[in-house]
Symmetry: C2
DNA sequence: TTGGAAGCGAGAGCACTGCTCTCATTCTCC
DNA sequence: GGAGAATGAGAGCAGTGCTCTCGCTTCCAA
């Protein structure tokens, strides 16, 4: 597969470092993530890991990309195995995001929580994986619009942002008009707001006895606000 | 005002520590907040500050309460000086939250970002200040409902959470039914989701050219989803 | 008035962190 | 085989949170 044995060993060590870092992240959080502890667990002296990772921030970047990839994979899988109707796909996306966030709170916090101060995630390494979920969401809504299955009163989009929506539409090859895009972006931030509130405990530790029910309600509400309706069989059979 | 000179001096020192900590928080963030640096700036050796603050976490608690208080004060002031109509009050609340968050990103992150791992904010010290904004929001919506100015299609609340809504209604002395409370909670998380996305840069650094316009759109949409409408003069004149 | 107690700051010290530098070893490729 | 790159070990620097002991000052009460 890989080239020289040395290259393969290097790749293996890098993957080991990522794995150990991921575990540590879950145990102590991003702020307390320690390169020395990773080195200890790797069975190596601390200076040795600097042969593989330039500094602590680069290890964070590794973990950010790793987390984005896993989240994206799980969301993709959930949406793929959902019925083709837009409502089901949206619900599957939201459910997968929430499930991953609840299962991996530290890694979710790394992606969607407070940015680590002084650390700027390098765009060229993170955007590809980092934009997967919102891109998929946009396409779900856009497909529904193309199929004429969007029955919502979105309200007009802000005209001052028309240029921004045009860029978004072009970059993602969308067809939906500004009001749909604006509503989609708002639903996106609302979804992650609800997930963050649950994962970060903003609702209070025991305010809501049934987090699943709260999530289902939130998602149903967001779907309705987007204009997604449960549609008939002709849509579930796809456009092909 | 205070008791003995020693007590007054202690209080002054504690307030100095809070102030220095607040500044440091803005410069380096919560993760890198250093008690030793605070001591240096205070002109004192590091062990001395342990006479006032048990540990780093307690300093964080001090700053959390301080931030909640300032945010609550500014939101209160904004809502108080807004017209009495619910839509104006809601818009003022959202604008004040966002303005404070944009102005004080590190302190906003301390309150609504990822929780600092291993640090649990002591409820007895933080809940009083920490629940002010959501309490005010609930009352704005509840007042509108009492006045008959809520014209929304909220959709039914999840019945499994009826008990939770009853507790909320009792604790906050509200009158609105479950569907209104459920929609209010969802709007609350959606508002902070949008603010967090803006403050934490989730939208992308330059995706939206006019953050103000995006905020205005989001707030208008949330208000509409809550059923808040711009109402006539009879409401602006109050209920007295 | 005069003790004792409590509060306070300084300093040393421990264990930890990120990161750098030097040095010896090992692997790779010409 | 030999030049050179890659690798790991170790020492070291500056910083961190936190503890402990030591004196000094303030306060309060007998």
């Amino acid at each position: 597969m890989a080239g020289t044995p040395r290259e393969r060993a290097r790749e293996q060590t890098l993957s080991d470092i990522t794995l150990i870092g991921r575990r540590q992240l879950g145990e102590v959080g991003a702020a307390a993530l320690s390169l020395r502890a990773v080195a200890r667990e790797l069975g190596v002296v601390s200076s040795a890991v600097y042969r593989y990772v330039a500094n602590r921030d680069e290890l964070l970047t590794l973990l950010v990309v790793d987390a984005y990839r896993e989240l994206g994979d799980e969301v993709d899988a959930a949406v793929d195995s959902a019925p083709q109707a837009a409502l089901g796909r949206f619900t599957a996306l939201a459910g997968a995001v929430r499930a991953w966030a609840v299962r991996e709170p530290s890694r979710y916090a790394l992606l969607y929580g407070s940015p680590v101060p002084g650390y700027e995630a390098p765009a060229e390494q993170t955007t590809t994986q980092g934009t997967r979920v919102v891109t998929l969401l946009a396409h779900i809504v856009d497909d529904a619009w193309r199929a004429g299955n969007l029955h919502g009163a979105a309200g007009p989009a802000p005209t001052r942002l028309a240029g921004d929506y045009r860029v978004i539409r072009d970059q993602l090859s969308l067809a939906a008009p500004d009001d749909v895009l604006a509503a989609t972006v708002q639903a996106w931030s609302a979804l992650f707001g609800a997930v963050s509130f649950e994962v970060f405990g903003q609702y209070g530790t025991d305010t809501f006895s049934d987090p699943d029910a709260l999530h289902d309600y939130t998602v149903a509400r967001l779907a309705a606000q987007l204009g997604l309706r449960d549609v008939g069989v002709q849509d579930a059979q796809g456009t092909a």
